[in-house]
């Protein structure tokens, strides 16, 4: 399989006043197309930071990140926003749905940035919601859904634009065991049936078992599988 993501000698530091806090140290990693990678490690190890860098919502202090042929470490804010809209689907721990929008409207949000017609958007949203098993909850608001259902809406929102890459930050961290299992099964299905490349950050070894590949981070360093 071809390499979809190439992280080359990436370092990331944050500044607190005049104090530099290194978070990632000279990371190099490749992720192949169709791969399901789990990033594990203790709190503060830099796994979410690495995920954010790969997803283009943060920029490395040093090094290069090439995703699907684009060097995203050199893109400006506006270009990066467009790139994210076209290439990445996001799944968060706390779902991050907009509370005043229905499930349908939440899933439709990324499509508002495309040139699709209203009927085309409807078709895609319905497809995505049916895929996650929520075709009958389209008009429900987030507060009318369970945690597991909210996360499934978030997954539908992540896949509705058919991105090449799905990034998930602790997708089961806020769910009970049954709901977490459903979400993991759904993600495995997206990987196997729809060949989505998935990078998932997790604390949960059981969740990590869903992935093909496991990488550990400790204090900003990759310490292997």
């Amino acid at each position: 399989m071809a390499s979809l993501i190439s992280v080359q000698n990436v370092s990331k530091s944050y500044w607190r006043d005049k104090l530099e806090i290194p978070v990632l140290n000279n990371i190099t990693i490749d992720v192949e197309e169709g791969e399901f990678l789990a990033l594990m490690g203790p709190s503060g190890s830099g796994k979410t930071t690495l995920l954010n860098l790969i997803a283009g919502i943060d920029k490395p202090s040093k090094g290069k990140i090439i995703v699907n042929g684009t060097d995203i470490s050199n893109l400006g804010e506006s270009a990066l926003a467009k790139w994210r809209a076209n290439n990445v689907g996001f799944i968060f721990q706390f779902y991050n749905l907009i509370p005043v929008l229905t499930a349908f409207e939440n899933v439709e949000l990324p499509l508002l940035l495309t040139k699709l017609s209203k009927s085309q958007r409807r078709k895609q949203v319905e497809t995505a919601l049916n895929l996650v098993g929520l075709g009958d909850r389209m008009d429900h608001y987030p507060k009318q859904l369970s945690g597991g259902q909210e996360q499934r809406v978030a997954i539908a929102r992540a896949i509705v634009t058919d991105p090449v890459l799905l990034v998930a930050d602790e997708p089961t961290g806020d769910l009970d065991r049954t709901s977490a299992e459903e979400i993991l099964t759904l993600m495995e299905r997206l990987n196997k049936e729809f060949q989505k490349t998935i990078i998932m950050v997790t604390h949960d070894p059981h969740a990590a078992e869903s992935a093909h590949k496991l990488q550990h981070l400790e204090k900003g360093d990759l310490v292997g599988a």
Binding site: N52, I57, D58, A81, A85, N96, V100, L113
Partner: protein
């Protein structure tokens, strides 16, 4: 769905807070409209003054009278077309709250110099013929349901006693800002009675109203008139009607300035209220803006969401406020003593100013939250705990 729908849904997210802010803006717009209307009406008498009319009054003060004998002397000056005069009568009509201007005038000439008071030839002839007759403005007639032939009785204060008049004419204001609330009657009727009851006060008029041929010569003619009576026991001061009226308005200048100032202070206060609402709303949505940015929404979209929400609230408050300004101003007019303002209407410029202020408030109130939302990095937005 589109972004506009999200703006509307966001606006109504905290219904109570949004409603209170809208009500606040609405009240501010009404207060602004009312204060500006009072200021406009107050100043409009200056705008209504004719350019070709001069007013001659006692040099020391307006309250001291001038001799009636000045009339012919003034009329003899070159460039003067006609001379009339008036005298402030005061008095009470039925109730002391029924305020309107009552003037003892030169019945022969008053309607020749005050051409904006439109009266029919027949009514004018009837007025001139009957010594105890009067002419009233159409607004007085409407307000007190007075018809031609009715009797009007004034209870005199400056000129004590019971004064009975018969209405022989109703004049119509020619322009929107012409005073339609005056009561005019014969100076000779008053003067004749004074000869019996208070002879020392006879032969005096309040001020002369002078119609000139060429407004460009007003300064020269004014100088000639005042020169004529220099070193006399009743020296005069002549000025254009505009300057004369301006003098009255200036006397209330501090109040008008304060009202003007207050009208803008109110706008400032409500801007802070809306800004506070928008800052709270944007702060609560820090995480949502981070989500939207993550999904690919640009700075332009974020600006649109916050500015749009601010504008929705400002426009709703402004729109309702403007719609309610008319009945509130009408109610205010009813609440003040009758005839206190000769005319009272909301100028279109007041509405334009009020709506512009509402729009400006909407824009300004969104600046800080927009700046904050744009400055916050996505990763910081996700870490934010509101």
């Amino acid at each position: 769905m589109n972004v506009v729908k999200l703006v509307l849904k966001n606006s109504l997210r905290h219904k109570l807070r949004t409603t209170l802010t809208i009500v606040g803006i609405m009240i501010a717009v009404i207060a602004f409209g009312l204060l500006r209307t009072v200021v406009t009406v107050w100043n409009s008498s200056v705008d209504a003054a004719a350019a070709n009319r001069l007013i001659t009054r006692q040099a020391v003060s307006f309250i001291f009278p001038l001799p009636y004998s000045y009339k012919e002397k003034i009329k003899a000056i070159d460039g003067i077309e006609n001379v009339s005069f008036a005298n402030w009568f005061g008095g009470v009509y039925k109730d002391k709250n029924n305020f309107f201007t009552r003037l003892a005038v030169d019945d022969e000439t008053i309607f020749d110099v005050m051409k904006e008071f439109v009266i029919s030839d027949q009514e004018l002839a009837d007025f001139k013929r009957e010594r105890n007759s009067c002419v009233i403005g159409a607004e007085i007639a409407k307000q007190y349901n007075i018809k031609i032939g009715d009797q009007m009785v004034l209870d005199g204060d400056i000129y004590p006693g019971r004064w009975e008049f018969v209405v022989r004419g109703i004049y119509k204001p020619k322009n929107k800002n012409t005073d339609g609330t005056q009561m005019l009657f014969h100076w000779t009727y008053v003067d004749e009675r004074l000869k019996v009851e208070s002879p020392i006060r006879t032969g005096k008029v309040g001020w002369y109203i002078i119609l000139i041929n060429d407004p460009g010569r007003s300064a020269e003619i004014s100088e000639k008139i005042d020169g004529l009576f220099k070193n006399s026991s009743a020296e005069t001061k002549t000025e254009t009607e505009k300057a004369f009226t301006q003098g009255f308005v200036s006397a209330s200048g501090a109040i008008i300035t304060a009202m003007n100032f207050m009208s803008f202070v109110i706008i400032g206060i409500i801007m802070l209220v809306l800004a506070n609402t928008m800052i709270m709303a944007a702060r609560e949505r820090t995480r949502e803006y981070a989500v939207l940015k993550t999904l690919g929404f640009s700075a332009f979209h974020i600006v649109g969401l916050i500015l749009g929400e601010s504008m929705v609230i400002a426009l709703l408050g402004g729109g309702i406020g403007i719609a309610l300004t008319y009945p509130i101003v009408g109610g205010f007019e009813q609440a003040v003593p009758k005839g206190f303002f000769p005319f009272f209407y909301v100028e279109p410029i007041t509405l334009i100013l009020a709506m512009s202020a509402a729009l400006l408030i909407g824009v300004l109130a969104s600046i800080f939250p927009i700046q904050r939302a744009l400055k916050t990095k996505i990763v910081d937005g996700f870490r934010f705990v509101g």
